[in-house]
Every structure is written in C-alpha cells, then in structure tokens.
Amino acid sequence: MGFEFHTTSLQAAVNWARKWSLFQYPFVTACCGMEFMSVAASKYDIARFGAEFPRFSPRQADLLIIVGTITERQGPALRRIYDQMCEPKWVVAFGVCASTGGFYQNYGTMPGADQVVPVDVYIPGCPPRPEQVLDGLMLLQDRIQKGEGHSQITIAAERGYDVPIAAIRPKELKGP
C-alpha cells in the first residue's frame, strides 16, 4: 500500500515535470506555420507553458507538432520521425489539415495525420488562432498529468498496469 502510494505520487511528480518541459519537434509543412510562429513569438509566448524550445532532431524532442497538410508521400517520413522520438512522446495535430485533411478533396492528401501517428490533441481551425493553440497545449498538459497520452498508455500497458483506455497504435511501417 505504502509502495503503491509512493509510485503514484512519484508518477504524478514525473508527469508534472513532463508537462511543463515539452521539447517540441515542429513538423511544419504548410501555411499554419505562420500561426505556429505567432504562438512561439513574444506576444502569445508559448514559453509560458515550458514548450518554447523547438528541437530539430527527434532524438531531443518529445512533442511532435504536425503543422499543416500531410500528403500521402510525407506519411512514411512523418512516421519515421515519430518512431525516432524519445519516449514518452505526444503528438498535436495543428489545424484542420493535420487533423482531417481539411478542405483538400484529392487523392494526394492524407485524411488526417492520425493515419500514420497516434494524435493526442487535435486543434481545429484553418489556421487556428494562437489562443486555440494554447488551449490545445493546455488540454495536452492535462492529458500528460493524467497519463493519458497514447505513448504513456502504451508504456503503462507494457509494464503490466491496468489501463482504462486502449492506446491507438497505427500499423507498423515496413523497414526501419
């Protein structure tokens, strides 16, 4: 009982540290990047949430922000970057194109980045306002604190814990 309490409070402390020190990998493919820059700049200042530092290597990042349209050809690259990131890791779909494919009605556009990576938070908008992005980030922080990120659930299930909800795990890609 004592040990159990110890692990849960330790987990809470670790998750608290994680949610305030997100190292983001911005996968910027389209015009939503402008709003992403706006969020990162001084007026909206994503640094208030501890997520200001973009790392352009997935080895140093634990938050994948998919900013913009994902085409079918970009899918494998996106998936490989997700696979190469540190764990636990989280994914935010920034804008409708990353969430659902947006207004594109053609065969080249992927209908949502969740076809290849498990997305934790979807931010609507074409493009979303910076306030919406900060709202999405706060939603993500809540999920991180509760341990509800897909990667967190996967790790917990592997360690033999009872997990209330199943994590979405997209199909494995062929090759490394």
């Binding site: 690259a77 696979d83 540190c86 636990p88 592997e158 490394p176």
Partner: protein, 137 residues
Amino acid sequence: MTATMTSDYLSAALMILAGVGFALALTAAAKYLGPSRPSAAKDYPYECGSEVIGSPRARFEVKFYQVAIVFLVFDIETAFLYPWAIKYRELSCAGAVQGTTCTGGVSFFGIGEILVFMGILIVALAYVWRKRAVGWE
C-alpha cells in the same frame, strides 16, 4: 588572509559541487524515471524522415580547406580592426583626450601601427594569390 582565502575557495568548491551534483542528479533521474524502449527506427540515422542515401563519410575537395584557412586570416584582420577603430581617436592624439577634444598634438602612432599590420596581411594575401589559393579552379 589565509582564513579569507580558505572561505573563498570553499564557496567556489561548493558551487562546483552543486553544479556537478545537479547535472549528475538530472542524468540519473532521466535514466531511472524515463522509459527506455530501444527500436530499429531509433537507431536509424535521422535524415528528416527520408531514407538514407550513400555514406556520410564522403570526401570533400581540398579547396574548401583553402578557403577556410584564407577566410580565417581575413576574419581575424576584421576582428582586430574593430577595437583599433574604437581607440583611433586616443591613438591619434599625443596628449590626453577630454571628451572628444584632443589636448595635445597629432600622433601618427595609430595610423602607423595599423598600416604595419595591414602591410603584413597584404604580404600574406600576395603569397596566397601567387600560390593560386584564392581562385576556385
């Protein structure tokens, strides 16, 4: 005197201890609290998600090194010119400088020393020019 010095070193030692200890504590925390899930994808080189083409141990032409070395010479020349330009007023005045006014006569020390400096570098430039190291051929 001795006691003061000891306490000075003590605070420095404590600072170093705290710094190294903090770094070690964070590394240990990451090792014991962070999950380790190695995979083939994580061992794969990062090329923005693309397939790797060719070996990273490619050969570069020696011209790049020539340019780098010649650049270094002129880069340092520029770096030395800045402080010289800032002190030029004082160096050109034989007496003391009050505000922006020179109280003494004119001194040619400032212009002279920079001409000597530039002269040495012009000799170096003439040398690399003659050795055909500045062209890209």
